[in-house]
């Protein structure tokens, strides 16, 4: 019997390679690999080492099918993408009401590193800007810094299905140069919005940003959210299903820095980007998308990643509010069929 299982599993892995949907992704990859716009983040030397030509697109379905093109195994630091997931863990630790009392969910329209708090409540605007992310990291439970970090890493493991390491040079550089983040933390301490274990919380924040992931991890994390919080391959629950909507909705309104409004309008997929070059996008119930390409636009979002998400949204009608019949039917392209001309 095991032979039949092996045959099926080999057939399914081959099907993922030859699926019209993967062929479509390969065409997207070819279309945008020559796009030489944007600049690689260089505010710390470790990030500047990234090569502009690195490019990977990975998509995972809620059924656990994985479609990969390009550099999907190359590791990079997760950076701001971590913020959405740490927000989810804070919600699990404290519940919605308490977390909302510490961090608002209002888009700022300001840059991610702006030093601005809501004047009426002194709360940082949302968990996706640095101030809000630091306040969120402060909420992560644990006896000490080791346990808090361990809980974060275990959470990411539930989402991706594999162990994660921290890029120590990136962490140390962020820590050594993070004056602005330190200033924000003290400003929030001044208003009583964060606890007084500032150094420990900032370390945790810099560590969460330095976690190493690849495009496949991002796609798996996105697919886990798209699948109601359960990893579609390991079938392990990564987040309480009640809070999936919290994470996804904040991604939609605040996930793409100060380009979030235009992103929601044009692409309509809840997404989170990081200065390491990653973009993670969720199409609830349908797809998890992970892209990796280090050159960033002026707002800090990966140039190729944006284009890939735009095309996917348009071609398959994946905008959350789309009701028109798309040019291509997603299920047909994934399953493959007679009528599809992907040659």
């Amino acid at each position: 019997m095991s032979n039949i299982g092996d045959l099926q599993s080999l057939a399914s892995s081959i099907a993922a390679v030859t699926s019209p949907f993967r062929n479509y992704l390969h065409d997207l990859y070819e279309k945008y690999r020559s796009l030489n716009e944007g600049t690689v983040a260089d505010y710390i030397p470790e990030l500047a080492l990234a090569k502009p030509e690195w490019f990977g697109i990975c998509i995972v379905t809620p059924e656990g099918q994985v479609f990969e093109v390009g550099d999907c195994d190359r590791l990079f630091t997760i950076q701001s993408i971590s913020k959405a997931f740490v927000f989810g863990l804070a919600l699990e630790d404290h519940g919605r009401e308490y977390v909302n009392s510490k961090v608002s969910v209002e888009p700022t329209g300001e840059a991610f590193n702006s030093i601005v708090l809501d004047e009426a409540t002194n709360r940082p605007y949302n968990p996706m800007v640095n101030a809000g992310a630091i306040a969120t990291a402060d909420l992560i439970n644990g006896q000490n810094s080791t346990e808090r970090l361990k809980r974060l890493l275990e959470m990411f493991k539930r989402y991706t299905g594999r162990e994660h390491d921290i890029n120590v040079p990136v962490f140390l550089s962020e820590k050594a140069t993070g004056y602005r983040n330190r200033a924000m933390a003290y400003l929030m301490l001044n208003f009583g919005m964060v606890s007084n274990k500032i150094d420990e919380t900032l370390d945790l924040y810099f560590q969460q940003c330095s976690i190493l992931v690849n495009a496949k991890d991002l796609a798996m994390m996105a697919a886990t959210l798209a699948n109601g919080g359960v990893n579609p391959v390991t079938h392990e629950r990564a987040i309480d299903e009640r809070y999936v909507q919290d994470v996804i909705s904040v991604m939609l309104t605040c996930g793409m820095y100060d380009a979030s409004g235009e992103w929601a309008y044009r692409v309509g997929m809840p997404a989170k980007s990081g200065v390491g070059g990653g973009i993670l996008a969720v199409v609830p119930g349908k797809l998890g998308i992970g892209t990796f390409s280090p050159p960033l636009d002026a707002k800090g979002n990966s140039v190729r990643g944006i284009r890939v998400c735009e095309d996917l949204s348009t071609d398959f009608g994946l905008h959350l509010f789309n009701v028109a019949k798309p040019e291509r039917n997603l299920q047909e392209w994934i399953a493959g069929g007679e009528g599809i001309n992907d040659w």
């Binding site: 081959i14 030859t18 040659w343």
Partner: protein
């Protein structure tokens, strides 16, 4: 829409490469732009039939799979070598015959996704009407891939018990991979066998169409070694049978 045709047999010695060369040449002679990829990386050979000598090969399929070249750069126009005239063109992407290269690809393997992407790039770059994939006998990663992407899978078998069993195995795999169309070809049929009865028996056994039946003949073996048979002897019954198979593929 371009058509991808894989030619496969479960066991070696069925005349697969010879058949592929003749069928591809027949399709090119009918005015089509045709590509042939030799994915038989462990034991490449079809280049001989197209008159491409190892010393003329710069880039090969191996170079592409190792990221050293594009697949188009490993494609050789062999139309003149086989005597294609008119609008038709015939291109070959050979596998390397260097022992070191074969050892390297067997030892290190390669990313099967690259093979899939390469087939598509080749079809686009050379504007092919047909892509024929000559495979390694038996079941392997590249066999699975070529079966899965093919519009038509041609299975070659000889009328003997070992081939009958092996062909059934390949057909199981092909159905698992949702192959779009399967056609059977009987090769090396002994002259004592009744062709119609043989064809009927095979079709009943496998519930698939026999697209062609080719006799076992020393004459053909001898003539075939000199190049592509169907160009040299276009009026021979065997060449007519190739045109019949090409016609059935065109109608898929």
């Amino acid at each position: 829409m371009p058509k991808v045709v894989s030619i496969h047999s479960y066991r070696g010695g069925t005349g697969k490469s010879n058949f592929t060369a003749n069928l591809a040449t027949t399709a090119a002679a009918l005015g089509n732009r045709v590509g042939v990829v030799d994915t038989d990386v462990p034991s490449p050979g079809i280049h001989n039939l197209f008159g491409l000598e190892p010393e003329q090969m710069g880039k090969t399929l191996n170079s592409y799979l190792w990221g050293e070249s594009s697949i188009e750069d490993a494609a050789y126009d062999v139309s003149d070598n086989v005597g294609i005239e008119g609008a038709g063109k015939l291109f070959l992407v050979p596998s390397s015959v260097k022992a070191d290269d074969i050892a390297r690809i067997l030892k290190d393997g390669y990313d099967v996704r690259l093979m899939n992407d390469g087939f598509r790039s080749l079809v686009k770059a050379l504007q092919l009407d047909y892509l024929f994939i000559d495979t390694h006998p038996g079941l392997s990663k590249e066999t699975f891939l070529s079966i899965a992407i093919s519009h038509v899978l041609l299975l070659i078998l000889r009328p003997d018990k070992q081939d009958y069993q092996g062909t059934a195995v390949v057909m199981d795999v092909a159905r698992q991979l949702n192959v779009r169309k399967m056609l059977l070809v009987i090769n090396k049929a002994h002259s004592k066998l009744n062709p119609d009865a043989l064809k009927q028996k095979v079709e009943e056994t496998y519930a698939e169409t026999v697209a062609g039946l080719f006799p076992l003949s020393e004459d053909i073996v001898q003539l075939a070694s000199e190049g592509v048979f169907c160009v040299k002897y276009p009026d021979h019954p065997v060449s007519q049978e190739f045109r019949k198979v090409a016609q059935q593929i065109a109608e898929v």
